[in-house]
Amino acid sequence: MNSMNNSSPILENRPKLPVYLDYQATTPCDPRVVQAMLPYFTEKFGNPHSRNHSYGWESEEAVEKARAQIAALIGADEKEIIFTSGATESNNLAIKGVAHFQKDRKNHIITVVTEHKCVLDSCRHLELEGFKVTYLPVKQDGLLDLEVLKAAITDQTAIVSVMAVNNEIGVIQPIAEIGAICRERGVVFHTDAAQAAGKIPLDVNAMKIDLMSISGHKIYGPKGIGALYVRRKPRVRMEAMIHGGGQERGFRSGTLPTPLCVGLGEACAIAQKEMGSEAERLKSLRDRLFSGLKAKLPDIYLNGDLDQRIPGNLNISFAYVEGEGLMMGIKELAVSSGSACTSASLEPSYVLRALGVEEELAHTSLRLGLGRFSTEQDVDYAIEHIVQAVARLREMSPLWEMAQEGIDIKSIEWAEH
C-alpha cells in the first residue's frame, strides 16, 4: 500500500502526516547527529573519566571535541562550557547557583514574567529561601523595556536572568543591550538561550553574557543533554547543585554521557555552518504561512513582535473560535497551544497574558513552529487545514455571527450566572 502511495504522482507532493509544526517543543535529532553519536554507544563506550585506559581516553577526547564545538557556536572558550542534563538543569544551576553563592552579600534577583517555567520556579523557590525577586513586565510586543530593567537593578542585585528567545512567541530580547547594562552595574547576566542557540547569532563576549543555557533537543541534538556557559573572565562564581566526583570543574558531578555530548557538539557545529541559509529558508516559509492565513482569515492576531523574532515561530490568536475545538479540528497538524510543559493544562498561556492579550484570544492561540525539516508542502497543508477548521468553527459561533452583523461584542452586558 505504502509503495503504491509513494509512487502515485498525484500524492507525491503531499507532506508526511501528521505534519510536525512544534519545533519549539522539541526537534527531531538530525540524522547527521545520530551518525556522529552511534559509535559512542557501543564500540567506543568508555567512561570519559576513566583516566587510565584507552577506552576512557577516546571518550574524553570526543567529549572535549564536543565542548569545543559548543564553545565555537557562541564565541566562548571551551573551558567555559559545562555539560548538564538539559536547559532546565542549566537554568536551575545558573540562577540558584549564583544566588546561593552570593547569599551573604546580595539577595536580589531580576527576571522577566515571560521566562520559561524552570526559571520562574527557580526564582520562586529562592523567594521561599528569603531572596527578593523582581519579575519585570514586558511590553505588548513581548520585549523588555530596558529603562524598566535599569530602574530595577540595585546594589543588592546578584543576577539578572533574561531569556534570549521566548519559547512561545519566539521574540528576541535585546540581549547585547541587557548585557551592557548588567556589566556596567556589576551584575551577573544569565540568559536562557535554549530557543536561541543555533537559530540566531550569539556571541558571549560581544553581548557581555556571563551565563548561558543551551539545550540539545531544541537544536536537532539529543534529549538529555544541555550546556551552561560559565564566564571565566571576569569569573562567575556559583555553587554546584549536584556533588560527587567533581566533574565539570566541580560545578556538576556525574558521569558525562559521551554519546549525548558528542551529539550536542555535532548539533552545534551543523547549526553554526547552516544558520544563515536556514534562517532565510525558514523566514520565507514562515512568511508564506502567515500571509497564507491572513489572506483567507480575517480577525487573526500575531502575538509578539514580528521583526524581533526567530524565523521559525508564529504565535497566532484566532478570534471567535474556541481553543479546544480548534485543536481538535486540526488533528493532522502537530502544534501546540502554548509551551509543551504546560500543554496538558487548560490555563491560558501566562506569556500571552503578560503581553496583555485578552483572555478569549489567549485561549485560541496556536504556536506554529517551523524547522529544519519543514517544507513548503507542510506549510500549504497547514494553511489549508487551519483555514478550514477556523472557518467551520466560526460558522457555528454566535459571537462570529454577531460580529459580522456589526455588533460590538465588548459592549454587551452579559447576564450574571
Binding site: Y20, F41, N47, N91, G245, Q247, S253, M327
Partner: protein
C-alpha cells in the same frame, strides 16, 4: 588495531544491543513527551513502557520511579529529600553520597576489614541523637563489590524513626534488587552500569516524599523538571528487560577463576572482601608495592583495561577511600586494583590477563625486553 580487553564494567558497561536498538529507534522519532499531539504521546508511551519495566524489576510502584540524568543526580535527589533529617552514611559510599553528606555534617559509619558496614556502629549513630535521621547505605560497593546488609540496616533504621536510602547503582543487573525485600525507602539505579546508555538513571521510592532538585515544568510528577531523555530512558527499559542473572553466574565463574589463578601464582595477593558476599563480577586486590597507577598503565599497554578504584575522581589519582576505610594504610590503598567483568568477557580474556600480569610482575631480569 585490536581493541583492548575491557575489564572495567563498574566504570561503565558497553551498551547492550537491545538497548542500542531501542535508543536508535527513539532517536529517529520526534516528540516531547509533554506535548499532547501524537508525536508527544508516542514519546510518552516509550518512556512509560520503560518505567513499567524498571518498576517491575525492582518491585516498586510505577508512579514511584523518577527518571534522572544518572546515579549521581538520583543520589543528590535522595539526600536532599531527607529535608531536615540528620544524615548518616557509611564510610564507603560513592562520592556522590559521601561528599555532599560530609559537607552537610553527616555522621560516618565504619566498615570492617572486609568492607562491610559495622551495623552496631551504624545503630549507635542512629540512636545517639533523638532527631530523625536519613541513613544512606549502598547495596554493593563500586570498588570492592562487597554487598552491604541493607535489609538489616533498613529494619534497624525504621525501628528508630530513620529513613534509609540505598545506592544500588552497581547492583542492578548483577544481583537481584528488590525495593521491598531491602526495605529501603529509596533506591538509586544507574543506566550505564547495566548496558543502557550514559545519561539516564532513576530514583525509585516506596512513596516517601521527594523534594525536587530541578524545578520547572511539572515532569516526573513535579519531582524532576526537564524534558525527559526519551531515547536513553527507552534504552534503560530495554537493558532492564534484558537483565539475565543466570549470565551473572557465568561472570562469577570467570571472576573466581581469575582470583584463584592470581592467588595461586602469587600468594602475597590480598583480595579485598574475599570472605564475604560480593558482586559476581568484581575483583579488587593488591599485590605488593607497585602503585595501582603504574599497574593500570602497564596493563593498558598490554591491551587490558582495568582501573584503580573508581573512575569518577577527575583530576589526580588518590588512594581509594574505600580501601582505607577498611583499615588498610594509604600506601596499601594506593596499590588497589579493580577488575570488573561483564557478560561479554570470556575465559581467553582471563588467560590474557594472567599472561600480561605475569609479564608485568615478573622480575625485570627475566622479562623479554622489547626492541627500542
Amino acid at each position: 588495531m585490536q581493541r583492548a580487553i575491557y575489564m572495567d564494567w563498574n566504570a561503565t558497561a558497553p551498551v547492550r544491543p537491545e538497548a542500542a536498538r531501542a535508543v536508535l529507534s527513539a532517536l529517529e522519532d520526534v516528540g516531547n513527551p509533554s506535548s499532547v499531539h501524537g508525536f508527544g504521546r508516542n514519546a510518552r508511551k516509550l518512556m512509560e513502557e520503560a518505567r513499567v519495566k524498571l518498576a517491575n524489576r525492582v518491585g516498586a510502584k510505577v508512579e514511584n520511579v523518577i527518571f534522572t540524568s544518572g546515579g549521581t543526580e538520583a543520589n543528590t535527589l535522595a539526600l536532599r529529600s531527607g529535608g531536615e533529617r540528620r544524615l548518616i552514611v557509611s564510610a564507603i559510599e560513592h562520592d556522590s553520597v559521601l561528599k555532599p553528606a560530609v559537607a552537610a555534617g553527616a555522621s560516618v559509619a565504619k566498615v570492617d576489614r572486609n568492607g562491610v558496614v559495622d551495623l552496631d556502629h551504624l545503630r549507635s549513630l542512629v540512636k545517639q541523637d533523638a532527631r530523625p535521621a536519613l541513613v544512606s547505605l549502598m547495596l554493593a560497593n563500586n570498588e570492592t563489590g562487597v554487598l552491604q546488609p541493607v535489609a538489616d540496616a533498613a529494619e534497624m533504621a525504621h525501628a528508630h524513626g530513620a529513613l534509609l536510602h540505598c545506592d544500588a547503582a552497581q547492583a542492578l543487573g548483577r544481583i537481584n534488587v528488590d525495593l521491598s525485600a531491602l526495605g529501603a525507602d529509596s533506591l538509586t539505579v544507574s543506566g550505564h552500569k547495566l548496558g543502557a546508555p550514559q545519561g539516564v538513571g532513576a530514583l525509585v521510592t516506596n512513596g516517601t516524599p521527594v523534594s525536587a532538585l530541578l524545578l520547572g515544568g511539572g515532569q516526573e510528577r513535579s519531582r524532576r523538571a526537564g524534558t525527559e531523555n526519551v531515547p536513553a530512558i527507552a534504552g534503560f527499559g530495554a537493558a532492564v528487560a534484558a537483565i539475565d542473572l543466570a549470565a551473572s553466574a557465568n561472570v562469577a565463574h570467570l571472576r573466581d577463576a581469575l582470583e584463584q589463578r592470581l592467588v595461586a601464582w602469587d600468594s602475597s595477593v590480598t583480595v579485598f572482601g574475599r570472605d564475604v558476599a560480593r558482586l559476581p563480577n568484581t575483583l579488587c586486590f593488591t599485590a605488593g608495592e607497585k602503585s595501582a597507577e603504574t599497574l593500570v598503565m602497564a596493563l593498558d599497554l598490554a591491551g587490558i583495561a582495568v582501573s584503580a578504584g573508581s573512575a569518577c575522581s577527575s583530576g589526580k589519582v588518590r588512594p581509594s577511600h574505600v580501601v582505607t576505610a577498611m583499615g588498610y594504610d594509604v600506601a596499601e590503598a594506593g596499590t588497589a586494583l579493580r577488575v570488573s567483568l561483564g557478560e561479554t568477557n570470556t575465559e581467553s580474556d582471563i588467560d590474557a590477563f594472567m599472561a600480561a600480569w605475569k609479564r608485568i610482575q615478573a622480575p625485570v631480569a627475566t622479562q623479554i625486553q622489547p626492541a627500542a
